[in-house]
Amino acid sequence: MLGDFISEKRQLFSAGMHTELRAQENRQRKVTLAAGNLTTNSRTETAGVSARVYKNGVYGFSSMAECSGQAAETVLKAATENAVFMDGHIGKGKGNLPAISSGNVLLNKEITDAGQKSYIEFARELDSYIVKKYPKLSSRTISVMADSMEKRIVTSDGYSGHIALPRGHVYLFLNTETDAGIPVDLFCAAAGGFGNFEDHFTDPAFFYPKIDELYEKLMHKREGVYAEAGQKTVVLGGFLSGMLAHEAVGHTVEADIVLGGSVAGPALNKRVASDLVTMVDYAHTTPFGPAPLPVLLDDEGTPAEDAVLIKDGILTGYMNSRETAEHFGMKPQGNARAWSFSDEPLIRMRNTTVLPGKDKLEDMIASVEDGYYLTDAGNGQADLTGEFMFGTTMGYEIKHGKLGRAILDTTISGVAFEMLKTVDMVSDSVTWSSSGFCGKKQIMPVGMGGPALRCQVMVGGR
């Protein structure tokens, strides 16, 4: 466990300058079996201390790869000097940040460490199941991965705390060929989530149905056809609508992106979606249970609470740091987070989701005359304009209300605040995922979720 060598350094904070001192350890474990070869067998541990100091509208930051009181003093001094340097050269002349409540958050989850052998044996069990049951696959890759952040945070005027965010996931990649010898692949983050290795990876047999499902989909895709390009009616599966919540809407309503010219700037308090759409960035607890990746406290010392972003189709708020919250006259809600000890806090999502509606998925599919049901996606990106794209890796034609042939990889796109207005059916259950990293200068584990949505998007195809 990360020791406390920073609390006593609070006395060294400079008066009148908001100061954060953070000790942090990150761990990563990764095992990859590619075509039966152990290509990755790695353990990474990085730890250190950082300080950030705010002076008149600018920040100074410093970090050191050392966990000691002396290192804490060094980074406090360097961060303060950097803040003074910037203030001297830039001179924004702003005052200190508005005060927030103070308190203390206790450790929410102890991080335990499974030996590398456990990861390797687990991956080998899954690999052997695949080889025995599906010998005709041309290749397969299994990755078992875990990462964790443990932080101690002390601030001059907010909460202090000791928090941890461990998670682990299994990723499966299966490859086959069409009759013409063209390679086709499909992957999924099979299972896992918040917690330590032993919380998720006790019994490989639990993952076998996920492998079977993935194989079945791959066989459909092997016979798949190219999607037809153009504007289409689609049913986005829950995984894709979670991605939509994160990429297409979430990023545009991060307050730093708003300041950079995002389309959400002039859209506040205006209709951006049909009234079936409500979207929330949950901190740690959702109406349906614990959030996939609970965040109790951010790295600015703000206790985390839910951020309602869209309510009944109206854009109601942004996600903020303490500084942007002051700028927009909003309340900071604990979104400023850093990935590594050497990273500064940035505005990040936590567990972003579209709330479920009342429709049944089967009714939604039955209602489409000619369109697509899209179930899996590889990656996604969004723009300041709200224009988004997702690389879809699995989906099916819908013809006359019935699922038809599988489709090959394609990309869908749209403009979020236009596309969301076309949402006319919302399913009654949410699919969550927590296996991804969000990239925004730094990486960050995030949760995302959503119900199935019937809407109009552009489909890329031949």
């Binding site: 920040y59 950079g260 010219g261």
Partner: protein
């Protein structure tokens, strides 16, 4: 901070003490200074002191890798022991290996000690230049950094490489902005070892800013457009990454998913195309000097005059598959300029589009790609007709390389790669 030569000695002693027969490790220390601009204003100055020890050990041909950033003796000992435990849990593989002993080398690259006051002055000047010369540009973010890096690499065959390197790095995110109208987020980045020239004149920054401003007031494209696609160097880089990852990388060859598995020595692209991996090229800043296995890096051609010359393989995958290992394992891609100017290239297009960025899904294993064409301009009868938005492009990467129309004389060198503009046909360009 620990002296990294002493840390290297300590690590080597522990490896010997544990009777490790095959291993390599890198100890590094770095100092980074970084200025950040957010929402058009300077917001942050960072100073980072970092260190790193990455050890790869083999026991009975089983491999384990450990990375830590604590360099004191007990931490190193624990790391070696964890590496050995990981290896013991692994799978014996005769194809693991490291390079034979190489002569000791010290590499000095770029500018090791930064001039922070001058760097900051250039950064402020950049902000002013953008404001004055590009009034319709809204700066979203700028990250300006200098990293001073010192490392020692050793392996159990007695090789030692020591590196001192440093470079200034500038990365901008910006958009055209007027009233409530905003263009797509555009990016531009470059590395430099010199502070002699204003930053706005480096890389492709000025052109990228011009293009972003010209993106204001785009029109939508209706239906499909049958024509030529001109890719900017930035967009080309994104698609080339797909070519490398899908067709010539370690995983594509190891898993035999590459559609070029049997194409070595055969034509895979237009004969005018040569793609080199060239970290020693003088236009590449702080390029790779040695591989992880301990081989000195050399430049080589992946494709020469349209013929596949080499996969980009590590020693392990080379041993595993029987192909030759790559002479370096970097992504320092160089494509030399062609025989027509960028202007001529546009003039020759009857119908088509310039694409400045590609926002798409990972290309399929067979090379099929589709995605949103970002920062696009329509071309009609040899003239740029204006900005266009909400256009999707799709095609196949392998087919694309065989449908080359031309390569521009002009190239953009951003310190990491050197690429020209390139024009292709056989891509589906689809609007709403």
């Amino acid at each position: 901070m620990e002296n990294i030569q002493i840390v290297a000695d300590r690590t080597e002693e522990i490896l010997k003490e544990k009777d490790v027969q095959m291993a390599y490790f890198t100890v590094s220390s770095s100092e980074m200074r970084e200025f950040n601009v957010e929402g058009g204003e300077f917001s942050l100055f960072r100073t980072l002191y970092d260190s790193d020890l990455n050890i790869t050990v083999y026991k009975d041909q089983k491999k384990g890798v450990v990375t830590i950033n604590r360099l004191e003796e007990p931490a190193i000992r624990e790391a070696v022991e964890n590496g050995l435990k990981s290896a013991e849990s692994g799978i014996a593989d005769p194809d693991h290996g490291i390079a034979p002993k190489q002569e000791k080398k010290v590499f000095r690259q770029g500018v090791y000690e930064p001039d922070i006051e001058r760097f900051f002055a250039r950064s402020q000047e950049l902000m002013e230049d953008v404001k004055e010369q590009f009034p319709k540009i809204l700066i979203h973010s700028i990250v300006l950094s200098h990293t001073k890096y010192h490392s020692v690499y050793r392996n159990t065959n007695g090789t030692e490489f020591e590196t001192y390197s440093g470079a200034y790095s500038v990365s901008l995110g910006f958009a055209g902005h007027e009233g409530e109208q905003t263009t797509s987020l555009c990016g531009s980045e470059f590395k430099t070892e010199s502070l002699e020239k204003p930053f706005i004149s480096l890389g492709s920054l000025k052109k990228d800013l011009e293009d972003a401003q010209a993106q204001l007031g785009p029109v939508s494209l209706s239906g499909k457009l049958d024509g030529v696609l001109i890719l900017t160097p930035q967009c080309l880089s994104e698609l080339l990454y797909g070519v490398i990852s899908n067709f010539v990388s370690d995983h594509a060859v190891l898993e035999k998913t590459s559609i070029w598995m049997d194409k070595l020595g055969k034509k895979v692209a237009d004969e005018r195309l040569t793609i080199s991996a060239a970290p020693l090229d003088e236009r590449i800043l702080c390029g790779q000097r040695y591989t992880q296995e301990g081989f000195l890096a050399e430049n080589y051609d992946v494709i020469k005059n349209g013929v596949l010359q080499s996969f980009m393989l590590s020693l392990y995958v080379a041993n595993k598959t029987g192909f030759e290992r790559a002479k370096n394992t970097s992504y320092a891609i160089v494509i030399e300029g062609g025989d027509m100017s960028y202007e001529e290239m546009i003039r020759n297009v009857k119908s088509g589009m310039i694409v400045g960025g590609f926002s798409g899904g990972q290309p399929s294993v067979n090379g099929d790609f589709s995605g949103v064409a970002k920062n696009g301009f329509l071309i009609e009868d040899g003239n740029i007709k204006g900005a266009v938005t909400e256009v999707m492009i799709s095609g196949n990467l392998s087919e694309l390389l065989n449908h080359l129309v031309g390569i521009s004389k002009e190239t953009v060198a951003d310190g990491d790669k050197v690429l020209p503009y390139m024009a292709f046909t056989d891509v589906v360009i689809a609007g709403k």
